[in-house]
Amino acid sequence: MTARAIRRRAVSGVMTGLVALLCAAAVLPLVLIFADLLHKGATAIDWNFFVRTPVPIGQTGGGVAHAIVGSAIIVGTACLIGLPIGIGAGIYLAEYGTGRLGWVVRFVADVLNGTPSIVIGILAWTWFVRPVGHFSALAGSIALATLMVPMVARTTEEMVRLVPHSLREAALALGYPRWRTSLRVVVRTAVAGIVTGALVAVARIAGETAPLLFTALGNLNFSVSLGHPMQALPLQIFTYATGPFDEWHRLAWASALVLMALVLLLSTVARWATRQRYGTR
């Protein structure tokens, strides 16, 4: 083997090793976080954890049912508000957004996408909490929906754009009006991708804490009223982790594990939906 060939092999080997190392460095945090959560949180998880509300300080065995239900209500309401707006805006951008208005909407969505969530939380407080005079779950949902809309709009736009132009032409050539082509053929073909984008957005807002601090506030009791403060898993973690009691810390770890598992589950479902879309059947 010539010297040059040996050098090439060496460089190739070093580079491959380097890339593998960087790849491991990228994956490592997730593995470490999940391992640590399992280690510290799993012991606190039992049936009571899911069905009971907190017990008075000093006792053990309480649960976070109120936070789990609260998260579901707050995130669910955020979806009811945010998904139709986001998906509608995304379809508009992809199908009709070539003009000036499209440019403006796209720009606003990108800026909103980059806005820190705590800023959204403060704005939600000034608009929906202060005028009413008290914190409410609904204000939290609105703040989360605001975070959701630009994310969902942009992924929806991309997914609709992925639909081959030939399908659009085929529908138009059949005598479909344009709006019907958009809905019956283009959007329907992109639906798996749109669902994936929506699930990713749900996973992201499910873990948001900052916007909820100023809006839903948190609640140590079980509440299902949108007009009043409500507990959510990220708030629960925040309160318990910063509290002084060991029992609280244990529950914070367990709550973090549950939240993480939910996000992981959503991401996995999203992945699965994407696979269906690009699969060869």
């Binding site: 032409e169 529908a171 050539a173 009006p177």
Partner: protein, 257 residues
Amino acid sequence: MAPADAPARLATQRLTALFGRTVAVREISLLFPAHTVTAIIGPSGCGKSTFLRCLNRMHELSESGWVTGSVLLDNVDIYGGSVDPVAVRRRIGMVFQRPTPFPTMSIHDNVAAGLRVNGRLPAASVTAAVERALRQAALWDEVHDRLDSSALALSGGQQQRLCIARALAPEPEVLLLDEPTGSLDPAGTQRIEELCHDLKRRYTIVIVTHNLQQAARVSDYTAFFYLGKLIEVGRTAELFTKPAREETEAYLTGRFG
């Protein structure tokens, strides 16, 4: 320059198609007699597909595409001010080079797709129309027992015949085929060519192809396009055996294109 021995179903008059300021097809006047197959041949980029897309007002949907001149369908200009392009496309069906089944729909729903555009139809008449279209497209025997499965489960040739069935189901008057066998194997190509013979009894067909043998096999008339212009048109047998123009002969004998 037009065959005139049968009443024309479709005719173009000085039809010019442009992309912005670029002329793709210049001042074409052609007649398409009822119940005939007319082939449009020519080298790549000669404007034959663009011309075809003008005939059902699809060209204007292309980026910066526009048209001057007129296209007469039963003596009415489809580019007239009061004509709805969507209604035109329901009367003039089109099949593209690559099969374009709607991936989210079953075989049955693909064929029925164009039927429901005009409003709800009774289920029985949809079923009947789907069967009729699939039979006309010579696909019925292969799919009648799996109408509810995905259209993507079909082979390429079957998908293309499905697209033909989809175009036929609303009973158009004219059928435009844009290189319909361009992405098919020889067996699939043969099926589609046989179809052309059967279908011309009911429809007026215009087929774009860059396969000369195909034009010779399926068409009654052939028009030769070159550089966006109509060079020559005539009965297929005559155009292929004794072309009047030098360019036509050069193309037919393989000296260019």
